[in-house]
């Protein structure tokens, strides 16, 4: 056998051995993540994950809504925060877009989870499963938050954009469906969550009677919290890490409130009785913001990275009832409800009035207090037509009265969603 024949035989043998030996040799798996198939055996974790994905949007929701309204101002070095605080962002360049992405993902996951439950459990069992309630309620709450924060959103995954009013209507339908499932599943707490959610959404849609009816189902002392935790960085409450003394002081309570600060009680004084209002928790120790220039007044409602943010509570429900009463001309009833809440907070009653505008002012103040740093304020000012006058009163040339009143859609969604045109002239950005 000459050399050429030898090496040919060797080469052929090597290839043959190699082919035999290599079967499956390139297969690897990722031991730190789940595949979709894996999740069919982890339905409770899926449902928990769905709910958790919604909660982690709440802290940024609070911050951006606070900067857009009159709760917070920028005291750091981030252009994104600065642009929102000063009302000088436009369609394609505001930082709150990331928050929309998180909400949309939470909504998608909630819908995907419902399909998985139905496939794995079967339609009939899934229809009365607590897991389905969890997912349906989350889906509704995600649409509710989208409607509060953005002037338009896709109604479904990769679907066309609809107005925030339409998203809120969708949220109402979803709360209704989730309510029925919760009732069928015997999940009493989730029943209350869905009543509370629908109450808020109906208030925003102008269905005051419907809102009050739902709110009345929620007993005093009840709350549903968006849970945060120090257990993982993902669950840290960034309202604390970004706006609070001892952390990054990138945003402060807005300067208009500083004169009302009461150091002993670490709160703002009530504008009507001059009493410290513990609901408007604030703290100032002389620190400057991260910009090194501006005094920094910390929000003091959330003080640890694990501090929960209220998603719904009975106090908000009572205020919905008060507002419905005010809208119906029942001024005394509205004041009675507000005074009851004030009493519970240790405050004196509001000066009685028969002036509807005064009652509106009271409502705004009480809603600010009860939902302090929960992302509601700018929504209230906007829907009650007070946002422009609020900023006009600042008399601040860098923060003019004419400013965006709500966030525009995430332009990444518009760019990547085939059903939406990424054209600024077609996208909304309402101003005051």
């Amino acid at each position: 056998m000459n050399i050429t024949s030898k090496f040919a035989a060797l080469a052929a043998g090597s290839v043959l051995l190699g082919v035999v030996a290599c079967d499956g040799i390139l297969d690897v798996s990722d031991p730190q993540r789940y595949t979709s198939a894996d999740l069919d055996n982890a339905l409770e974790a899926v449902a928990a994950g769905v709910e958790g994905d919604l909660y982690i949007t709440m802290d940024q929701f609070v911050i951006y809504q606070g900067l857009l309204g009159d709760e917070l101002q920028h005291t750091g070095t981030w252009a994104g925060y600065d642009d929102i605080d000063h009302g000088r962002f436009n369609y394609s360049n505001h930082n709150a877009e990331g928050n929309m992405r998180e909400m949309l993902r939470a909504r998608w996951f909630a819908g995907d989870a419902q399909e998985r439950f139905a496939r794995v459990l079967g339609e009939s069992e899934a229809a009365t499963s607590p897991l389905t309630v969890q997912a349906q309620t989350t889906e509704a709450a995600a649409d509710m938050l989208l409607g509060m924060m953005f002037c338009e959103s896709p109604a479904v995954a990769s679907g066309p954009a609809v107005s925030n009013t339409d998203i809120l209507r969708q949220a109402e339908q979803e709360f209704t469906r989730a309510l029925a499932t919760a009732q069928a599943a015997g999940e009493s707490d989730w029943v209350l969550v869905n009543h509370a959610g629908r109450a808020r959404v109906r208030l925003y849609l102008g269905d005051y009677a419907g809102a009050a009816s739902d709110a009345a189902q929620v007993p005093d002392g009840w709350e549903k919290l968006a849970e945060f935790s120090e257990n993982s960085g993902r669950q840290n409450n960034s309202v604390v890490s970004l706006t609070t003394a001892g952390n990054n002081r990138a945003a402060s309570v807005r300067e208009k409130w500083w004169s009302a600060y009461d150091h002993d009680s670490r709160s703002l004084r009530d504008p009507y009785t001059d009493e410290p209002d513990p609901r408007k928790a604030v703290f100032f120790d002389g620190s400057l913001g991260v910009d090194g220039v501006t005094d920094h007044y910390s929000q003091w409602k959330y003080r640890s990275l694990g501090a929960d943010i209220p998603l719904f509570d009975s106090e908000e429900m009572r205020l919905i009832e008060a507002e419905a009463a005010w809208q119906g001309g029942r001024l005394d009833e509205a004041q009675d409800i507000m005074n009851a809440l004030r009493t519970a907070a240790g405050l004196s009653a509001l000066p009685a009035t028969t002036d509807s505008n005064m009652v509106k002012e009271y409502l705004l103040n009480e809603r600010l207090a009860e939902t302090w740093m929960e992302g509601h304020r700018v929504v209230d000012l906007r829907r009650l037509g007070e946002l422009r006058s609020t900023f006009a009163a600042l008399n601040d040339s860098e923060r003019p009265a004419t400013r965006p009143s709500i966030f525009s859609m995430d332009d990444n969604e518009a760019r990547d969603n085939p059903s939406i045109e990424d054209d600024a002239s077609l996208r909304c950005l309402p101003t005051t």
Binding site: S14, S29, M100, L104, N231, G292, R415
Partner: protein, 967 residues
């Protein structure tokens, strides 16, 4: 799915080799020896380390310090002895070896500025002379480099020496990452560091921070820079480095090679040689240039009257540099050895920051008989780094000292530190402690003169433990004063198997053929685990378990690549060489719907010289024309193809999941096809060497993170093969020895490159040619930003554009280095100047400082009372609206040395041989066009695409006195 075992593909290679061995009949031979001396023809000085080989056999060796060699067991009869040494012409001589006797062959080598006879192995399917190659391959003889300039770290060895190879210090802490890339950027997403091998074993080249796992407070461990695993290497162990720069050259490395391949060859023993020792030691210091932007700070006081400090005066110190290395080379008839031990200690100029490194190596080579050679390489290093806090990091030491307003200075924060006091940062202890073992077994089997086999198996194992301690009682943003402890462990392993078979035969009298075939495989795993403890009860306890809250995390990556190749080289006479080949690769990261990838290549080289081509211009003594075309690839990330959901804690401590990666079952490698033309010429009797290369590379199926609508649910974007990237350029190197005389020599070297990078296409997902931050028609990672358009007197503010405009590209268009060596008697002077032009970077420090009312640029606009002026207001408003983009253009006095060879009459009295004393300086000065400390700064280390120097640390200058001797 089970992980595969190594047995399968080791078994394949072993089976092949065994079969080959069994088929061959051994034949006893009569043998003799060859001995002689190799000297410099001009100076008469002996040449140490010249390679002497007996053609067509495994026999050979290196000359010793006296230039002498001895090769035994050479088959009797006529034999060709070949001597090569970089910088000199190759010589051959035919001798008649007598059985039992030793024949003498002395050589006088002439200086040559080109090295076409140099034998290279990287990317060539076996040892081959450069003159036979159509692709460009660069090599550095590190021993020669160290004659001029002590090299304290591996990455310095590549700096400014090879056109097209960019090795730049981007972060100034000792042990920190350097940017290393070849021929620009050819990917949007994948690591651009070239693949690296040491003696045929693939090695880990990680150069960046791990990331803040396990709830660690930003930014574990030391900020963005991290540590560079190349800092584990000891340059004293390295003989030479070969660099493949493009796809045309790197085809045989397949799916990892489009960013270039670097092969490091460590030193070998010497046959029939008594142990030759080399001892080297350096002592010196690092010291930053005093150009930190705080010179005006002492003009200001804080609220309590405390005078602010200038960081140039109070932070910059001398950082000690101290190293010792001892090597031994020698061997007998059949066994040679190289043993090395080294110790290096280096402090940064801003402290605390230091590196302590110990290295040990043993290389053994056993020539069992005429057919079998076995080599074993084993190297261990221990590299402990006290890392500097820097980069985009709340705890950036220099950042805090230079970005706060002096008007806020207090006794606790004397620089007006905005986040954390410098004194508190100095209490943070951040360590990286890496143990590394790299080893390999090389078996060569040559059953006949024209059939060789080589098998290499090896392992690179890095175990790196990191710790960071934020002590109790000191304030740190996000962590408060209750302290924190982070520990991390990274274990990276790379197994390499490489088989090469080569058959040479003559097709006719004038046409020879060399057929090569083989297989390569590597298996990489990287496991990282971290634990964090937060909130201690008091000082004194600093273990994770001692904290009130503890967290853990873990990451794992695994990649397997198998490839097989075949190529044939046709040799027409000794002038024309044409090579064609193909490699087929499978990789575990390819999508499950995608099979194997095929990488073809073809290259040609045509050699001429003044003797056989009299029509050449008289000044041309040698000329090689070359061309190459080839394809190489870059595989996706280890698990990018899988659709996944992340496990995550939700609702406090409940196990949940969240959508993560949408996955892509069709994922392919990026494919780079390159064509290259060039020439290598020796002019003026090879006293001047010129090498010119033009390359044109196109990367197709470039991976890009395609954003999916958020409404579709997944966190991550989807990796898709969508893009096309073009890279073209010209590389020129000129080496000359204009003056070579007894007692005086002048050598000069100039290399420069021009590179153009452009995104050709971004695929269907792009809108108006824009996708993410990338735009068609622009370089990758181009800088875009809004611009100031005017001044509005009504508002007394600047106006800015609504859209972002192009500001520049991140990598230089032009770069080059010019070095000169003058040898006058026993004195040698060397200098290297390096420059680059055409790059821009986002100088994020600058607007940040101005918004903070900090830095000399801002403070210089204040009036005598320290109050803002109209200029101040204008500057503040300007940088509240736009980012700062600055030029990276620079000329740098990179290396300077003065060496003195001690008189032999002196050193021999103490038993030493050739001894040199050298004074050297590194990174001594630079001229730039930016409002910054150093235009090369980059906060995110050496493996990042990010080109921002935000809060980064500039490179210090280094001053050394070194002693080197052989005995």
């Amino acid at each position: 799915m089970e992980r595969p075992t190594l047995v399968r593909y080791f078994g394949t290679a072993a089976a092949v080799l065994t079969a080959a061995a069994l088929s061959v009949n051994g034949v006893a031979a009569q043998v003799g020896g060859v001995a002689g001396q190799v000297i410099d023809a001009t100076s008469g000085a002996p040449i140490n380390g010249a390679q002497v080989a007996i053609e067509g056999s495994q026999r050979g060796g290196l000359t010793n310090a006296a230039g002498r060699y001895l090769i035994l067991n050479v088959p009797a009869g006529p034999q060709t002895v070949r001597v090569t040494y970089i910088g000199f012409r190759t010589h051959e001589a035919t001798v008649d070896v007598t059985p039992g006797g030793t024949v003498t062959a002395d050589f006088r080598l002439e200086v040559s500025a080109i090295s076409l006879d140099e034998v290279v192995v990287t990317g060539t399917a076996g040892p081959v002379e450069k003159r036979k190659l159509g692709q460009s391959i660069a090599s550095i003889n590190l021993e020669s480099v160290q004659e001029n300039m002590p090299i304290e770290g591996f990455s310095q060895a590549l700096e400014g020496r090879i056109p097209g190879v960019r090795s730049v210090g981007v972060t100034g802490g000792v042990g920190a990452g350097r940017e290393l890339r070849v021929r620009g950027t050819s990917s949007f997403t994948l690591n651009q560091r070239p693949v690296m091998y040491i003696d045929g074993v693939r090695v880990d080249t990680n150069a960046g921070e791990w990331g803040s796992l396990a709830g660690a407070t930003c930014c574990a461990f030391s900020g963005g820079a991290g540590e560079d695993r190349l800092s584990d290497l000891n340059p004293e162990e390295i003989e030479r480095i070969e660099v493949l720069k493009g796809a045309a050259a790197a085809t045989l490395y397949g799916s990892e090679a489009s960013g270039g391949v670097i092969q490091i060859f460590t030193k070998r023993g010497r046959s029939n040689s008594a142990p030759q020792f080399t001892f080297s030691s350096s002592l010196g210091f690092n010291r930053h240039r005093e150009n930190f932007p705080t010179t005006l700070y002492p003009n200001f006081t804080g609220p309590n009257g405390f005078q602010a400090l200038d960081s140039n005066q109070s932070l910059i110190e001398n950082g000690l540099v101290n190293s010792y290395d001892l090597t031994a080379q020698g061997g007998g008839e059949d066994v040679t050895y190289f043993i090395a031990g080294g110790f290096n200690y280096e402090e940064g100029s801003v402290k605390p920051n230091d590196q302590t490194r110990g290295n040990m190596r043993i290389n053994l080579n056993w020539t069992a008989n005429d057919k079998w050679t076995v080599g074993i390489n084993s190297a261990y290093s221990r590299n402990k780094i006290y890392s500097l806090q820097s980069g985009n990091n709340w705890m950036s030491l220099l950042g805090n000292a230079t970005i706060g307003s002096p008007k806020n200075a207090t006794e606790e924060t004397p620089y007006g530190e905005p986040w954390i006091s410098v004194e508190n940062i100095k209490e943070v202890e951040t360590f990286s402690n890496a143990n590394r073992w790299t080893g390999g077994l090389n078996v060569a089997f040559q059953p006949s003169q024209n059939f060789t086999n080589r098998l290499t198996v090896g392992l690179d194992n890095v175990d790196d433990q990191k710790t960071r301690t934020l002590p109790f009682g000191f304030f740190y943003v996000y962590a408060g004063t209750s302290g924190e402890r982070n520990i991390g462990y990274r274990s990276a392993r790379t197994f390499t198997t490489d088989y090469l078979g080569q058959v040479s035969f003559d097709l006719s009298d004038n046409i020879a053929s060399q057929f090569s075939f083989g297989a390569q495989g590597f298996w990489e795993t990287a496991e990282t685990s971290m634990a964090t403890g937060k909130e201690f009860a008091g000082p004194g306890v600093t273990t994770v378990g001692g904290a009130a809250n503890t967290f853990g995390d873990e990451e794992f990556n695994e990649t397997i690549n198998l490839g097989t190749f075949a190529q044939n080289r046709f040799e027409f006479g000794d002038r024309l060489f044409i090579t064609g080949g193909v490699r087929i690769d499978g990789n575990s990261s390819f999508g499950q719907n995608y099979g194997a990838e095929v990488y073809p290549k073809v290259d040609a080289a045509y050699n001429m010289n003044s003797s056989d081509s009299p029509w050449l211009p008289g000044v041309v003594s040698n000329l090689k024309l070359r061309a190459a075309w080839g394809k190489a690839g870059k595989a996706p990330g280890a698990f990018d193809q899988f659709q996944t959901f992340d496990p995550t804690a939700v609702l406090g401590d409940v196990a949940g999941v969240t959508p993560n990666n949408p996955g892509n079952a069709d994922l392919e490698p990026e494919k780079t096809t390159e064509i290259e033309f060039g020439l290598d010429a020796g002019l003026f009797d090879d006293r001047l060497g010129l090498s010119v290369t033009y390359f044109d590379a196109t990367t197709k199926d470039a991976l890009f993170q395609i954003p999916l609508p958020s409404s579709e649910g997944f966190q991550d974007e989807q990796l898709q093969n969508v893009g096309e990237i073009a890279n073209k350029g010209v590389e020129v190197s000129l080496d000359a020895s204009p003056v070579v005389a007894r007692g005086f020599r002048w050598s000069t070297s100039l290399n420069f490159d021009w590179t153009k990078n452009e995104i050709v296409e971004l695929g269907e997902a792009a809108q108006d040619g824009i996708l993410g931050d990338e735009r068609e028609g622009f370089p990758i990672e181009s800088l875009f930003g809004r611009e100031i358009t005017g001044w509005d007197p009504a508002t007394r503010m600047h106006t800015r554009s609504d859209t972002s405009v192009y500001q520049g590209q991140p990598l230089p268009t032009w770069s080059g280095a010019f070095s000169n060596t003058l040898t006058i008697g026993a004195v040698r002077v060397y200098a290297q100047v390096r420059g680059e032009w055409g790059a821009m970077f986002s100088n994020s420090d600058r607007p940040y400082r101005i918004r903070q009312q900090a830095g000399d640029e801002y403070l210089s606009t204040l009036d005598a009372s320290g109050n803002a002026t109209a200029v101040t207001d204008s500057l503040s408003n300007y940088y509240s609206l736009v980012s700062a983009f600055d030029s990276r253009d620079q000329i740098r006095l990179q290396e300077l040395s003065l060496g003195y060879q001690l008189p032999s009459s002196l050193v021999e009295k103490v038993g030493l041989g050739r001894s040199t004393l050298t004074l050297s300086g590194y990174n001594l000065y630079w001229w730039d066009d930016c409002e910054c400390m150093d235009p090369s700064m980059q906060y995110a280390g050496g493996s990042s695409f990010n080109f921002s120097g935000f809060l980064a640390m500039p490179q210090p200058r280094k001053f050394l006195i070194s002693f080197r001797t052989a005995f």
